[in-house]
């Protein structure tokens, strides 16, 4: 491009060079800007680089015919939308996995305290009957016009007067007062945590074992964060009902143990998940169907499965 003395820009001299028509398009090819089908348009040999081009008759955009036509701007936009949705799903699944482990753990914590709660209830009921009998006796024997001092039947009074350790020993010790059936919840907890670990191992396909384990710690952080809610509830005021007292005593221990168990199963799933999935694929799919899932092998640097 040249500058004229008057300051205006002159058109480049090369525009005058004619394109050399070599052929015409007989197949489908869409314009990269307006998506007009260029079928029937002349294929030109342009003079600058000696490239083959096709010019769109609608928008005059030049397309080089050496490559496949592009998808246009919408491909990138849809890819961004898909990436955003995938990120949202990952975040929801992250919270969901932590919430699942928390839910089972709090269930174990509450269930384990059921037996102790019943023992407390029966002892309180017996104590309350004794107190009521005393009240009735005092009322019957008091002189007319005199208010007799009445013993309280309040739950708080019973609890404050209870010496816990001798009471537990008299009922057979801690081991007999724990509802061990609560540990049955560890079966679904362990299975689901392991499965979630396997799913995460597949979703975090680009990550190595150490990074996956780190992600497992992040999931457990969510579960522990959720666990603060019932802990605060149990420990805030434990002496207002026998259920609360028993949960205050046993709940945190069993919830902590369940969190540890769920976390362990999750981490096992994260470590061996891909191997388990590969084994399952080899077991369930015939060789010719395995090749689309070769990424599970390639991600760990293994040979892709044979198709024969």
């Amino acid at each position: 491009m040249t500058e004229t003395p008057s300051g205006s820009r002159a058109a480049p001299a090369t525009t005058a060079v004619a394109h050399h028509r070599v052929s015409s398009l007989t197949g489908d090819r869409l314009c990269i800007r307006c998506a007009y089908n260029l079928v029937g348009q002349p294929i030109l040999r342009e003079p600058h680089y000696d490239m083959l081009i096709v010019r769109c008759p609608e928008c005059a955009t030049v397309a080089s015919v050496q490559e496949y036509p592009l998808l246009g701007p919408w491909a990138g936009r849809w890819a961004a939308v898909a990436a955003g949705l995938w990120l949202l799903f990952l975040m929801a699944f992250w919270i969901g996995t932590g919430a699942m482990i928390f839910g089972f753990s709090v269930g174990v914590g509450e269930w384990s305290a059921d037996k102790l709660s019943q023992v407390f209830y029966h002892d309180y009921a017996a104590w309350e009957q004794t107190q009521r009998a005393t009240v009735a006796l005092n009322t019957a024997t008091r002189p007319v016009g005199v208010l007799a001092a009445q013993p309280s039947t309040a739950y708080q009074v019973w609890w404050e007067g209870l010496d816990l350790q001798p009471f537990i020993n008299s009922k057979g010790g801690w081991l007999t007062l724990i509802d061990w059936e609560a540990l049955l919840l560890w079966i679904p907890l362990g299975l689901l945590s392991f499965v979630c670990g396997c799913v995460w191992a597949v979703m975090l396909l680009a990550n190595k074992t150490r990074a996956r384990l780190l992600w497992g710690v992040c999931i457990m952080a969510v579960a522990v964060a959720f666990s603060i809610i019932p802990l605060v509830d149990w420990l805030a005021d434990g002496s207002n009902s026998y259920g609360n007292i028993s949960r205050q005593i046993l709940g945190p221990i069993f919830m902590g143990l369940s969190l540890a168990f769920g976390g362990m199963c999750l981490l096992i799933g994260l470590v061996v998940g891909r191997t388990a999935i590969r084994w399952l694929l080899v077991l369930l799919l015939p060789p010719r169907l395995r090749s689309p899932l070769a990424m599970f092998w390639l991600a760990d640097g293994l040979q892709p499965p044979s198709t024969t």
Binding site: S23, R29, V65, L71, L283, L284, L285, P286, L289
Partner: protein, 229 residues
């Protein structure tokens, strides 16, 4: 219409020129009729991506189907065989109507052949004997787990009605063991009846194979007619 494929030598559109498999590398080769330059025909990236997606979709569908059938049969086989044991022991002790004794054997007539057909068709890439034995071992494992749970909870009688032999004389775990063994034997009978499903599986396998070949042939014929038009 075919997708444009321009010869890089002379600019001639090779879209309507038919490709042939060259003998050295097996590539689909197109020779330009104008300048004789040889180029390979590649699939359009969009079409390749769509085909990859379709293959992945088919693989995942097959995987889902396999897992669904496995889950379905892993539930129905233990429960069906348990019903068989309960029915037989109930008939022996005159608890149930003995006229309908043959009804208790429905798992042998339905679940068994279905299992056989599935194991033959879905696991054709594995050794058949090992597949049948493996499936039976898997069923025994999950059933054992159920019995173990019931024994731990000490409510075998309420959980499973099989333990009707003589409850007075058997301790809980021994009753559980007897119940489990009879259950495993009933599942073994179901697995024996699964042999009847093997020809069914072969038939299905052949049918789907023929169908796949026919579809492929039809597609190829259509493509050939399109390129000739």
């Amino acid at each position: 219409m075919a997708i444009a494929h321009v010869c890089l030598g002379c600019g001639f559109d090779l879209a309507r020129v038919r490709a042939f498999r060259e003998p050295h590398y097996g590539l689909p080769l197109v020779v330009c009729p104008r300048c004789q330059a040889a180029t390979t025909r590649r699939r359009h990236p969009l079409w390749s991506a769509f085909r990859r997606f379709k293959r992945l979709d088919f693989t995942i569908t097959v995987l889902g189907l396999q897992l669904s059938l496995a889950a379905l049969l892993a539930v129905f086989t233990p429960f069906g065989s348990l019903a068989m044991v309960v029915g037989v022991s109930g008939t022996q002790r005159n608890t149930f109507d003995s006229d309908l004794w043959w009804l208790y054997f429905w798992p042998l007539a339905i679940i068994g052949p279905l299992t056989g057909a599935w194991l033959t068709m879905g696991f054709s890439h594995l050794n058949r004997g090992r597949t049948f034995l493996g499936w039976y071992a898997f069923l025994c494992c999950i059933t054992f787990f159920g019995w173990l749970l019931a024994a731990v909870r000490d409510d075998l009688d309420s959980q499973f009605m099989v333990v009707q032999l003589d409850p007075e004389r058997w301790p809980v775990l021994a009753r559980g063991a007897v119940g489990y063994v009879s259950h495993a034997i009933a599942m073994g009978a179901v697995m024996l009846s699964a042999v009847a499903g093997i020809p069914l599986g072969w038939g299905f396998q052949r049918l789907t194979g023929n169908l796949r070949q026919t579809l492929w042939r039809n597609r190829r014929r259509k493509r050939r007619l399109r390129s000739a038009a």
